[in-house]
Amino acid sequence: MNVEEELARQLRETGDVIAPTLPDIERAKARGRQRRQGAITLAVGAGLLATAAVVVGPRLVSLPNGAAASGATTAAAPTTPVTGSPGTTMAGEPSTGGLLIASAEGIEVRPFDGEPALLRSDPFYESIISALPDGDGGIVFQHDITPLPWPQGSILQVATGTQEARVLVAPDDHQTIDLLDVVGDDLFYVLDDQVDLWSEHRLLSLSSGEVRTVYAREMTDQLAVQAAATDGRLLVVAVREENGCGWLEYSWIDETSTGGGPYNPYPQESCAAPDVIDMRLAADGSVLYVLSGDDPTRLEGRDLTTGDSVFQYDLPVTRQLSLAPGGTLAMFGEDKLLVGRLEGGRFELRPEEPDPTGLPVAVAVYDGDLTLAPGATLGSGTGQLPCTPLVGAPYPDLAALPGPVARTATSVAAAAAECDFPAILELMAANPDFSGSFAYAGRDGSDFFIHSWIAESRRGSDVLNQIARIMTTRPALAEDGSYYVWPAVFATGADVDWEDLANVLTPEELEVAGAPAYLGWRVGIARDGTWMFAVAGD
């Protein structure tokens, strides 16, 4: 055996038996969303963050147990601060303000001195990926799947005293938008154009509607903007190359303020910036708070006048940072919430923060009060779902099928043709073993499937319409005789069944379906009428 063959054989023998680690796609998505979101909040207000050397308290903090949603968090307790002198006690709990927690259930508004409330969106559009105070008693936010008729990815606002949400910014089809921050009257967001490959940090004046680009960069796969922070005057952007070189870039928002600028602790030539997870800038721009590292995650304050590190604090795995002008600081790590205070030269975590409702994605601190109208909603209220009804389609004669099969087939076909997602969900839920999509790390079930179908339909693939059309073709009995499948070609591969299918699918859909073996959407119903699956692919 030659050397190359031997090397390949040994690598395969070794690699193929490496025990796999546990896949957890929901955790990967949550981390991706948090990174995508970048900087979150620097709520408006007159108060300024204490800028004297901030000293951390040494007290070990007991953390709440994590929510069971991801099930994979092994966050360690915080370590003793690495710098600073001993603190005493927390300098008073915040008397006003609270947290906005974006989750799969909506937005939990958790006042520091009151009862929490959950703001909900429309059915099937509940999941919120970011939420911020708008500085005037309202909130701005983004859905995971944006309710129709709003464009996917829109930034929305429920303004003070109002019930209904409205679109502030909407991306074009080939663009994505990430909500970044609200400072004073200005909303900051990142707009990425996936076709022309550019990325811009923009500012929207909430009062005048004026939009201005404050930072721009070409998109490449070798360089990423990791996070950004602003005090309304300066935008600080953390940039990192795939080779590990990282630095901070400054962009003045006030175009009259140029030159000099504050001290940059990580200029490009240093290549020494840590792997930034998130950043915040103090309301007066004097201190930059940087969250970096993995486990432990480090929170570091950098004086931008001197460049000195004013404090460092090691935390459990933490993915996102939020800071209000009054000094309240909230962090979100995996499935834990950490809330602390920067005040009077001290930084201290609250001893315990109750677990959020649902699967949390992001947290933001608000100062003062939110003044939303009773009954405020995050949805459009139109009830529109991404589906085109199939009208007047001829259905095959199902009399030859067993009665239970025919009844279920009729129900599925009718619900799909009418775009009746609730009815589809109900039919799915009747079989706990129904298969409608992938199942990852325990995340399956009818709710998961229906949301994945809606998300897919929002991306342009009209799932229910395709299923409805498939159901107009002839079914066949599966090879083992246990279930009937639509379309028949999946089981038979016969030319006549391909021709039958060609009457209901477009040439493009047929091509994707993968002739000669059909791998497009197919529906399976057991002899007893149990709806077993509606899947596509291999």
């Binding site: 050397v3 390949a8 896949p23």
Partner: protein
């Protein structure tokens, strides 16, 4: 949007689970198909199962973060592998491990080849060279795919492989 590139989909020995593949390239498809081979390739490259697990999770989170861009790449697993490798290198630096040879401390999670001579040669390679070897001889990628994934010239791929094979031959000849 383009379909997921078929020629770079790595076929595992185990049968694919019952699954849906939707028309557009979906992150779920990518995750299901590519996470495991990327993890194994990283484990062989890093010689550390635990670090590879963290690296592939980080790469997958970044893939989701940038999915609209990543889904259009020709070599998505190559991108994920490279991101995971770079993240792991940064992590190793942060841990203040030996970076000259990228040696990983001897731990239970360390990965070894069964044949000591080969294992010794691989252990002595720097991470970039080991990456070339793993992509070529474990994932069976072409020189061109390796060069594109690691963003190095084609000639560098060939020279690294040449040097590695020469070193292995030397080791085998030295064996009594």
């Amino acid at each position: 949007m383009e379909e997921t590139t078929e020629e770079l989909v790595i076929d595992l020995d185990e049968p694919a689970p019952p699954a849906t593949r939707l028309r557009q390239p979906a992150f779920e498809d990518f995750y299901r198909i590519q996470r495991e081979p990327v993890f194994r390739a990283l484990a062989l490259t890093l010689r550390d199962r635990e670090l590879a697990g963290e690296a592939v999770d980080e790469a997958m989170a970044r893939a989701y973060q940038h999915w609209r861009s990543v889904s259009g790449y020709d070599n998505q697993p190559g991108w994920a592998y490279t991101v995971g490798l770079n993240w792991a290198r940064t992590r190793m630096r942060m841990r203040k491990r030996e970076i000259i040879t990228d040696t990983v401390p001897d731990r239970a999670v360390e990965i070894h080849l069964p044949r000591p001579e080969l294992d010794r040669v691989l252990a002595q390679l720097d991470l970039r060279s080991r990456a070339v070897v793993v992509l070529r001889y474990y994932l069976d990628w072409s020189y061109e795919d390796i060069a594109a994934a690691l963003r190095i010239p084609l000639g560098t791929v060939k020279s690294r492989l040449h040097r590695t094979l020469a070193a292995i031959k030397e080791q085998l000849e030295e064996k009594p």
